[in-house]
């Protein structure tokens, strides 16, 4: 081509000689094929990603709008037999922070937050000074406060739902209900014993959220949350209150160290009340001491003393060794076995078996006990549950101590007949007395309310024997007996006192445990009530004077609460006006 300054005539573009170069046809086809191949490769890759191996992309896509959220479940309630609330969970918030982000708050924001959380700014700074990536600023914050904190939109401060446990009945039922830790885990009492059923199991759901964070659709599998089961105790909060307040009064008026009381329904072995003193407030557990936490009625054993005597008498009656009115010579109030001497608190002369129980003669009981082999006595103690776990499923239950009969010496057999040299817990004692109340059958105890199905006991004594022992127990609360103060106006009751020395470091100290176990009403037993007062030091120390009045008050109130028809003629002189409690 020749370049000219001014071409004479321009030729059309298509006539450009460059375009008229004849290229070989395969070259264009080659390019076309290559483009086609690249395109096919893309299609194949696309097909592969979208259809064959689509998991990865699907997941990436889902993660843009799908969310797994946890659905919280609450811990089960604990209620008494009438449905009154004993323990209930209510939602709270815990405020947590990412310290690195939260430190960017300015001074006024910090002040606001600290004020809402009722803590000082310095305290708050201390928490945020941590180099961790997660700190709890404050737990168990009321939901209203938490929502005000969220409204401040502070950097790095977040909240989370949690539950707090409340105990409306407080110290009254503290030992039986127990309590949970901050993490909703049972630490004591029923809360611990029934942890598995009370526990709520959170569920999960997968949802689609829109741009504003609203949930627009449920997708995928749903795992419904399971709230914890409601536990209905056998406890009657009214009787519990009676037991608790009278026990407290008895401990205080006798200047005692501690005490315990149990009320059992003899028809089915339900525990209607179980109170201990000293106690604590489960809603505020700062400054707790071991003594307050102790559930004495279940976990402590003691030498019961004379409350054991009816068992010895029952065994003798059952084996036909004595009759109700067999006379036993208890004079002169002392009995020497080997090189040890047993004595009575007040010397008696000749007494019938019934009077031995009524007047609580150690000598008489020992004489009865020496009439049968050690093995028979051991078997009787064993069959009424001494030396065995009460099987309530309650934490800290104890066996007590019942030594094997093979190495009993005669003096030991004699002392055991009146309750020394054997250790039992109050709950074991109360359960053992159900054999007298339930016509010779030992009832299994239950913390939970039972449905109306009849409960079968284990036969230990014949109905005849148990009736005779009940008559003896009723004699013990007559004016000639050891516990006239245990009488209940309007009802016939019976029971046995116990005054035992405490063992400290292996020797008997001059400290006492006063107890009373009674049955009410005698004509058709409904309740067994056991009261134990540890170290009474207000002058009186006999079971009849210390624990007897508490029994009387508890029994009177409980019988009235249960609507049991009085079975005794009213004795006008004995009804103290306006002295009873609600």
């Amino acid at each position: 081509m020749v370049v000219r300054r001014r071409p004479q005539r321009g030729h059309r573009f298509t006539e450009s000689p460059v375009l008229q170069l004849a290229l070989q046809g395969w070259r264009s086809r080659m390019v076309g094929l290559m483009l086609m191949a690249a395109f096919l490769a893309l299609v194949a890759r696309g097909f592969y990603l979208q259809v064959i191996n689509n998991d990865f992309l699907q997941e990436k896509g889902d993660s843009r709008y799908r969310r797994d959220i946890e659905v919280s479940a609450s811990r089960g309630k604990i209620i008494d037999r009438n449905g009154d609330m004993l323990a209930v969970s209510t939602p709270m918030k815990s405020i947590w922070a990412i310290p690195g982000d939260a430190r960017t708050m300015d001074a006024s924001q910090k002040q606001q937050l600290a004020a809402l959380l009722e803590m000082s700014v310095r305290e708050l700074d201390g928490k945020l000074a941590s180099d961790k990536t997660f700190v709890f600023v404050k737990r168990q914050v009321p939901p209203e406060t938490a929502s005000r904190i969220t409204a401040l939109k502070l950097p790095g401060v977040h909240d989370e739902k949690e539950y707090r446990r409340y105990y409306p009945t407080g110290d009254m039922t503290a030992h039986i209900v127990g309590f949970t830790g901050v993490d909703d885990k049972g630490l004591e009492g029923v809360e611990l014993a029934f942890q598995q059923s009370l526990l709520g199991r959170p569920g999960a759901r997968t949802v689609i959220r829109d741009r504003r964070g609203n949930i627009v659709e449920d997708v995928g599998a749903l795992k419904p949350p399971q709230d914890g089961k409601e536990i209905r105790l056998a406890l009657d909060s009214k009787i519990q209150y009676l037991a608790y307040s009278h026990l407290k009064a008895a401990v205080e008026s006798n200047n005692a160290k501690a005490g315990g009381a149990i009320v059992i329904d003899t028809r089915n072995g339900e525990i209607l009340a179980l109170a201990n003193w000293p106690t604590y407030n489960p809603n505020n557990r700062q400054h707790l001491s071991g003594a307050q936490l102790r559930n004495r009625a279940i976990t402590d054993t003691f030498e019961p003393g004379s409350v054991m005597k009816p068992f010895t008498a029952a065994l003798a009656l059952e084996k036909g060794k004595v009759r109700f009115d067999t006379v036993i010579n208890c004079a002169p109030g002392r009995l020497t076995i080997g090189n040890a001497t047993i004595s009575d608190a007040h010397p008696h002369g000749a007494l019938t078996v019934a009077q031995v129980i009524q007047k609580s003669s150690n000598v008489g009981t020992a004489k009865i006990a020496l009439g049968f082999p050690a093995q028979e006595m051991w078997e009787m103690f064993d069959s009424v549950g001494f030396g065995q776990m009460p099987n309530l499923g309650f934490p800290g239950e104890v066996n007590g101590r019942l030594r094997p009969w093979k190495n009993w010496r005669p003096i030991e057999q004699a002392t055991m007949s009146y309750g020394h040299g054997i250790a039992v817990s109050l709950v074991q004692l109360a359960r053992a007395y159900t054999v007298f109340a339930h016509d010779g059958e030992l009832m299994p105890l239950s913390l939970l309310r039972l449905e109306d199905a009849p409960v079968r006991g284990i036969r230990v004594f014949s109905p005849q024997t148990s009736r005779e022992v009940r008559a003896m127990l009723e004699m013990a609360v007559q004016p000639e007996g050891t516990a006239p103060k245990a009488r209940v106006p309007g009802y016939r009751v019976g029971g046995k006192t116990g005054t035992a020395y405490k063992i400290e470091g292996g020797v008997y100290a001059r400290k006492y445990i006063a107890s009373f176990v009674g049955i009410a009403p005698i004509s058709d037993p409904r309740l067994v009530i056991a009261v134990m007062i540890d170290e009474p030091s207000g002058g009186a120390h006999f079971g009849g004077d210390v624990a007897g009045p508490a029994f009387s008050q508890i029994a009177g109130g409980a019988l009235r609460t249960l609507g049991i028809v009085p079975d005794a003629p009213i004795q006008v002189a004995e009804a103290p006006l306006g002295k009873g409690r609600l």
Binding site: N82, D84, M85, V88, S89, T90, P91, Y166, P168, T169, G170, M172, D210, N214, I215, V216, E217, D218, S237, K238, Y241, S245, P489, G490, R560, T561, L562, G563, I564, V565, P566, I570, V572, E574, A575, P576, L577, G578, K579, G580, R581, L582
Partner: protein, 96 residues
Amino acid sequence: MVRFNMILLLTVVICALGVVTSQHRARKLFQALEGEQERARQLDVEYGQLQLEMSTWATHPRIEKIARDRLHMVTPDAIGRVVTPAAPAPVKKAAR
């Protein structure tokens, strides 16, 4: 043929819009449901709190204190009591 195709196309478009609308409405309804469920949960929580409050007000020590100190009530002695055969129910009612 072209007309038939056009009709089909139109049908497809209408169906597609229908799907979109119903999906949208489903989501709206779902949100409403979600809101109501949240409200139910809230009310449930409130109910629990009120129950708690009620049982706190109704503790036996408090009732006894009010009965004795403010209302000057006393427990009737054995003479002042009449026990009817159907006693348990009224006694429980009175306890609340």
